[in-house]
Symmetry: C2
Amino acid sequence: MLKIVYIGARGGHSKEINEATRGDKRFVCCGVAAGDADEDIKVYYGYIVKDHPEAKLYEDYLEMLDIEKPNVAVVSPKFGDTAKVCIECAKRGIHIMTEKPVATTRDDLTILKETVKENNVHLMAMHFLHYTGPYYEAICAVRQGKIGEVRMVNAQKSYKLYQRDDFYKKRESYGGTIPWVGVHALDWIYAIINKPCVKVSACQSTVGNNGHGDLETTCLCQYIFEEEVMASLQIDYLRPDFASTHSDDRLRIVGTKGVLEVREGKLHCITESVDTVTIPETKKDLVLEFLEEVLGGTKGELRPEDIFAVTELALAAQEAADNGGIVCF
Amino acid sequence: MLKIVYIGARGGHSKEINEATRGDKRFVCCGVAAGDADEDIKVYYGYIVKDHPEAKLYEDYLEMLDIEKPNVAVVSPKFGDTAKVCIECAKRGIHIMTEKPVATTRDDLTILKETVKENNVHLMAMHFLHYTGPYYEAICAVRQGKIGEVRMVNAQKSYKLYQRDDFYKKRESYGGTIPWVGVHALDWIYAIINKPCVKVSACQSTVGNNGHGDLETTCLCQYIFEEEVMASLQIDYLRPDFASTHSDDRLRIVGTKGVLEVREGKLHCITESVDTVTIPETKKDLVLEFLEEVLGGTKGELRPEDIFAVTELALAAQEAADNGGIVCF
């Protein structure tokens, strides 16, 4: 049996872990705590306690970790605190399912990587779009050689801004739009290109953010990987409120033998043969894959090293944008 | 009456000038010459002489210019020679309708600009996609304030490569993919953003060009304009032969009050009001607009200065890609 605790629920995705484990006797939730002093975690605790009456509400997450000694912590504080909380968990040998990005500075990322490795814990981030239908189909199609050699990837993340919590308005607590929004697209790019990155240039602007302080409204990133494979990413928070969906995410993969594109939630293929992409029979679930591995079952496909590499792609781009230059890897 | 000559027909678009003027007694073609020693211009001459039996075939375009003293030269040599030929025309006070890009090096561009200005000639380049249906609709929609303030533009040019003439295989004669293919998208970007450019970073690769030497198969450009407005451009020659159309061009414009997108030849709008874009009643024609102005009629909307500025955007990006860095304006 795995003991799970929740630290914060800022990112809005922690519920997915509870939903994936609901009714499964292998998992028990023993505690819930805020991720930071400003967070009111009572509503989230009320949600958890319905499924797990044994779960306790803690004021201090460190106290919770030391008393409950859980196997797994689900981490979702203010984004700027994610790495710090994960490091505390790792130090205690607790496996981690965390909100993305796993870190918002390159220094934090380095320390987190080392601490995870030293303490031999498993870490996974909520890169939920990795296994989402058409994107994972595209990744599989590339791996199956359907478009030959990948030469260029173009990705887009476009979100509605709405009115966001105050912590989004400060770089220190929010972390920045490239890491927060862009990391999903970088997860696809990294899985598809599957080569070391050479350098990145990027730019960003807060203009038009409707009173959201430091929050960047538009960003562009341009990556060069080994063998001159290239990738671009455009991010914006300017999708109008009256648009039909929250997001307008796109992915385009240009290979030497075909082009794939995900648009409006569907994979469009320009490939020579009409045979369809073979998707692994078992539907992939990021949360269950992580928990199975912690339970000692099958090793997951998405690795902690992938999460760290993707996060580094995001943070390097942000550094390039902050400094108006190029960052080499 | 305007006397027109044709110098080369390498780019494949010179016919459009003959077609626009066919049967119009205000225009006569008095000569045709190759743009370079390697060009066989006989087929093109055969095409022209059907409409203009008086047109003579010349071996040397300079001789033709000096003997015929035309009012207008239609210029389309190897792309690397375009600026040189245009400069010879400008020096003689001959107005110029030229294949794009008007120059393939920044030095050539500077000399051409100066020569055109000194000799008070009118110059227009074959930026035919400027007035093409949905793209010009998008430009008009922006000018009419339909999406508020433009914050980001994302453009795509994707072409089939086929087997191209040998002169495409050398940078010196071809000029490069960013200037040759990208200039169309930069024409849109420049018209839409309508601000000075601050800097550009870019990358390019010849991998996968199927024996086409120096020809770049994939390119990415990332521009920052004043007021932190940004633009990205992705270019590739990897559209598969079996795709349904030659090109897959896209244009996306993100404003503070809406988003416009041109895809599959249609303009898609995410704007608050459902009123349509008002397109000027007279259908714009780049060739006729140019010729009317030369005849002393209405001044055209697209200016020589626009052509020079767009070409500079392309050449600066190519310089950034060649040097693996950033070019500031």
